[in-house]
Symmetry: C2
Subunit: 237 residues, 2 copies
């Protein structure tokens, strides 16, 4: 494990357990150097991670302020899988695999998903329930070239855990788009609802070598949908 990662984890832990309470200052970079016996640069890398995740805010001349974790500063943003989320939030959740097929991309699907025409992809349809409430319908397309094998069992658990753990893939980034759409008859049937609208999250997900391995349409019941984000202002566009 990299040093700055370890320091980040340690500091994160200490912030979440209020060893470093909200509205107080972390030890100075100088002191952290002494505590962890590393160079200042390494400390600063760890602090950068804390900053990106909204755990601290640096104030020049003062120090690193621990931020209050308001109500729900959970990483609903930032490319977190459903499985990880439900675990982090300690939700009793259930996944049902509606179908799992190997299909060939046609030109329409190619435009939609970003996969090349004629390529093979897994199509996985799943519903997720939280405390017995059917809340989400996920339709995933996963590159067969990158994921040669996929079973219902893995799809029921966490596909991301399988990809990162078993296959050692390095998931890097995603382009997402959130809109509200009218429901189709198919949607209403699978989600067992008469709702007229649902929240649609389309995302293309890429590996660190920039290969796209996933396209997903995630459909949420509007009354069950909440997206929480921590955003930093990006000056100069």
């Amino acid at each position: 494990m990299k040093k700055y990662q370890e320091i980040f984890n340690d500091l994160k832990e200490k912030i979440l357990t209020a060893i470093y309470p909200a509205d107080t200052l972390l030890p100075t970079e100088k002191k952290l150097q002494d505590i962890y016996h590393v160079s200042r640069d390494t400390i600063r890398k760890a602090l950068t991670l804390l900053t990106e995740r909204g755990l601290i805010q640096k104030v020049q001349g003062r120090g690193s302020l621990v931020l209050r974790q308001e109500l729900l500063n959970f990483p609903v943003s930032g490319l977190t899988s459903y499985q990880e989320l439900s675990q982090a939030l300690n939700l009793a959740s259930q996944t049902r695999v509606v179908s799992l097929d190997l299909i060939t991309i046609n030109s329409n699907l190619s435009r939609l998903t970003g996969f090349e025409a004629h390529s093979q992809v897994w199509k996985v349809v799943r519903t997720r329930s939280i405390r017995g409430n059917l809340s989400v319908l996920d339709i995933d397309y996963l590159s067969h070239a990158i994921i040669p094998h996929l079973s219902k069992e893995e799809a029921e658990k966490s596909i991301y855990a399988y990809l990162e753990g078993e296959l050692g893939l390095d998931i890097a980034y995603a382009q997402k788009e959130i809109t509200v759409e009218p429901t189709s008859q198919e949607d209403r049937k699978l989600m067992k609802t008469q709702d007229k609208y649902l929240v649609l999250i389309k995302s293309r997900v890429f590996l660190s070598n920039t290969q796209q391995f996933q396209y997903t349409e995630s459909k949420h019941k509007i009354d069950r949908f909440k997206f929480v984000d921590f955003a930093r202002r990006k000056h100069s566009l």
Copy 2:
């Protein structure tokens, strides 16, 4: 201007104008050092900014790949003001100030907005139209302690431009929450619609010294709403 900022701007420009085209590699860090006559660390800081904004992806052993700017990789996320957005997208947009008042926070409002009870805040209600379509209803609460003066004229243009430009405030980060909510009679009247639902974006916005200066409820017509995001996977939560 800081060196790494200037290098970032220069590289961004060259990527957007396809001097460095998508799917090609940037010059190596070594070469960039020679080009800009700076240390490697400074180059790496500039590349980090490009990475965060989804313009490049670094691949170890290969180099920095320029990413395709899919359809709309616009910064709808990342704390961008309405005014900046409509400018970036070149939209003919119009803002109407419905009301502008100085009010005192009561305990209910305090819970909602995050401002202290009994403190004074500006309440600004605005509607925005894009190509003649009334699309958004914004309700802003702005700290009077931080913003002593605010006029209808500034509210009609861009409050952010006023705060950063005139007042020299350093807007740093926000906590946001997106949900879909039923419309109230008031909503329907102000937005001139009969829609049953709207998209609600609540956000608390903070300065770099961690003072909260703004709470906003931004209500979007569902058929006009689109949220686009570029997200990087955050390992280790």
